[in-house]
Amino acid sequence: MMTEIQYKRNFSIVAHIDHGKSTLADRMIEICGGLSDREMKDQVLDSMDIERERGITIKAQTVKLKYQSRNGNKYELNLIDTPGHVDFTYEVSRSLEACEGSLLVVDSTQGVEAQTLANAYLAIEADHELIPVLNKIDLPASDPDRVSNQIEEVVGVDATDALKISAKTGDGVAQVLEKIIDLVPPPTGSERSPLKALLVDSWYDPYLGVMILVRVKDGYLSKGMKIRFMSSDSSYQIDNVGVFTPKPTPIERLTPGDVGYITASIKTVAETPVGDTITSDKNPADAPLPGFKPSIPVVFSSLFPTDNAEFDELRDSLAKLRLNDSSFVFEAESSAALGLGFRCGFLGLLHLEIIQERLEREFGLDLINTAPSVVYKLHMTNGQSLELHNPADMPEVTQISFIEEPWIKATILVPDEHLGGVLSLCTERRGEQLDLTYAGSRAMVVYRLPLNEVVFDFYDRLKSTSRGYASFDYQLDGYRESKLVKVSILVNGEQVDALSFIAHFDQAEARGRLICERLKDLIPRQLFKIAIQAAIGGKVIARETVSALRKDVTAKCYGGDITRKRKLLEKQRKGKKRMRQVGQVEIPQSAFLAALRTSDT
């Protein structure tokens, strides 16, 4: 039996990382009886191995729940649990498009953090009814009154009636459901109008093929129906229609307000661009829904197989991963030092780390990655402009008229006592302060920063300088012209492409010097002297020397234990395998990333 539209409620759960979104979803699933006790586990919606291991949500997840309200009516709830990390903000934005309201979960022991703010603004922009919830009241450090003041001051929404709950114990969760019924408006739309469904997400399922997550606005979707993608005008016949309970469960039809999936014998996810509008082939809608901007990769890094023979495997594995994650891109690349690999673009550093980890774990690959960099816009003297994804590809300086680099607007929340460290970090990274306000003893600073200065170890530095108390969020904030140079690193006169980097002119020399010093310690001594140089154009700006190895043998007594000698040899040989050859010089793979860290922390 179909639920009438006034008994539907669609909402997202948004919050800063670890404030308890997935745990709250667990309690709601329990209350509504979505899963049996046997099927239930902590953060049940975090289904990927890597999510469970790291205890974080990476992909937004949808669940349809049946809820019997105290007001006597039965409701159908579509809950979307979203990730909290800034790299996956895109997941949040598109989830919001499928809903009319959001729960803003705030950890009452910690208070408002950077992603609390960022995600709250996203929800407000999406015209959502925003319901603040104070979580973790079971903990002794919980201070709900202070935190509700903070929400009002910093986020600017009324939190006087904010519910105080514990997602862990379930305390207060039933009231949250009631509040959703009361405050979140039911969806609108008509089943009789031409079909308009928003393509929220798509991924490849090994059993069901390409699955498309949709939010129906008008019309309906049912098995056998012929649909059309409005962006490409391609049409398909629907094989299956269903909802997540959270298990995929086939149903008869999806009607306005519903969030569910369809499958239609589609071969690749590339045919199903998120944000597209799905309509009926027979009776198409006049205009598509607004949709949303595609996600753009902002951090680039190259991945190389440790063993060159694994190149094809790496390509296949990347292709497979991309089936479920269209937000990263890759392109074959050849490096003199590291061989064949791929230049890959990611949403951020965590995204990079996760993709790399999945490649290593799920596909058994052993990888080296180069230091992350950003996309520069080069304006050439001949009037052309081009995008530079890889410092190694930088053309001759004489051909370049000027270079632009991407900037971000960063919001950092930090307790007063650590503010000093944060401010000097931002200044050191060429930041421009835009705003500094206080909410109680917590400072909120807004900076404009070059993305280039953030992609490597900014987050690590921020954490260490604030003892883990600072939170950080950013948005892209356009391109600006900048005095940038490419610094090349030469080892015994040979340029090492994978180590070259782009830096601001004022910092180039110091960075070059630091990297030479680093490499001096990272490159083991060999049978000859090794010169390490940093150069801008033809000018050497720093130089270090690794002295020659004088002796590599110990006159040691082993007796008949030659097993031990063999094991030692094997170990040394393994170490050697992890070396890359630049001319005569062997460089350990780990050096390619370690050398470029800008600080020791």
Binding site: L527, L549, K551, V553, A555, G559, D561, I562, L569
Partner: protein, 384 residues
Amino acid sequence: MKHFGIYIHWPFCESKCPYCDFNSHVEESIDEGRWLAAYLSELNRYANTTSKRTVTSIFFGGGTPSLMGSETLGEIIKAISDRWNLWKNAEITLEANPSSAEKNKFIEFKQNGVTRLSLGVQSLDEDSLLFLGRKHSVSEAKEAAVVASEVFDRFSLDVIYGLPGQSPTKWKRELAEILKLVTTHISAYQLTIEPGTQFYRDKVNTGGEAVEKKMFDYTYDLLEKKNLNAYEISNFAKPGHECLHNCTYWTGDDYLGIGPGSHGRITKSDFNYLGLETYATLGIKSPKKWLENVEEKGSGDLRTSKLKPSERIDELIICGLRMAKGLDTGKFFSQTGISLYDVINKEKLLTFKERGWVKQNKDTLFLTHKGRNFLNYLAVDLLA
């Protein structure tokens, strides 16, 4: 028929030296009779399958095997000659410490069959002996060496250098003193700090690379002048006085390992004429458990595993290159069924030859003096 050496491990010492990572233990009382019976039982176990072989060397190592009664030693030697064909020129070495009690037993040892003595003097400097935790004095060391040289035609001194704070000059003086005591064989080891030792726990440092290299080079030069050739990285001998038993390790010949934690290598040539199957044996490390196992289960073996061809090749090369005469290509082929130059990286070989680190003769491949300084580095590259 094939020949082999037999290693007998006596795992006890009077005290534990702080640098020592051998399988040596200090026990209040030792039932020597039980130990003898266990050694004989282990010898029997191997004799069943190898009785046709000729034993060319026996080596009593430890621990401090000179703490054994000379009759016990005699019984073991006799048992070996009963079970195998003991070559008439077999080398029978005993490791000894220079305490006066042991010194007085040298003659008895000789009477019971020992033909070669390896004396662990370690140093001729009072402070260094103290640092190394040795229980003897310089004069005791000297006296023991004199007695040993009188009793045995073949005898060797063990010394350790590269101690923290030891200057090359000091080592030179010490080496000159040593050369007054021995003219035929010296084993000169560098102090290394091994995990599990007292020095490791105390975070003792060695002399440092620059100093060590100086001492290493000096030792080679001086001993060479005295006609003591570095026939192996840390062993120097007058021609004809090389330790035959240790050479079995380095040339990939067979040896039985008898006793707790002892290693052995046995090639089963009886079934396969190319002799490609080499087994590595390893005794149970704990003396008590070893003894109980031998007594109750009839074997002190912890594991016997067949070496993979690649493991065998690694061992032959890394050990062979330790020796001045290097690797014999014909022998390598007979041991592996593969040509040496098929397993060695040719490009690297060429580079190393050009640099004068490696040399090739008709049947041998060996490291030059300069090359031996980089033995580990070169071996890894040659096998890459």
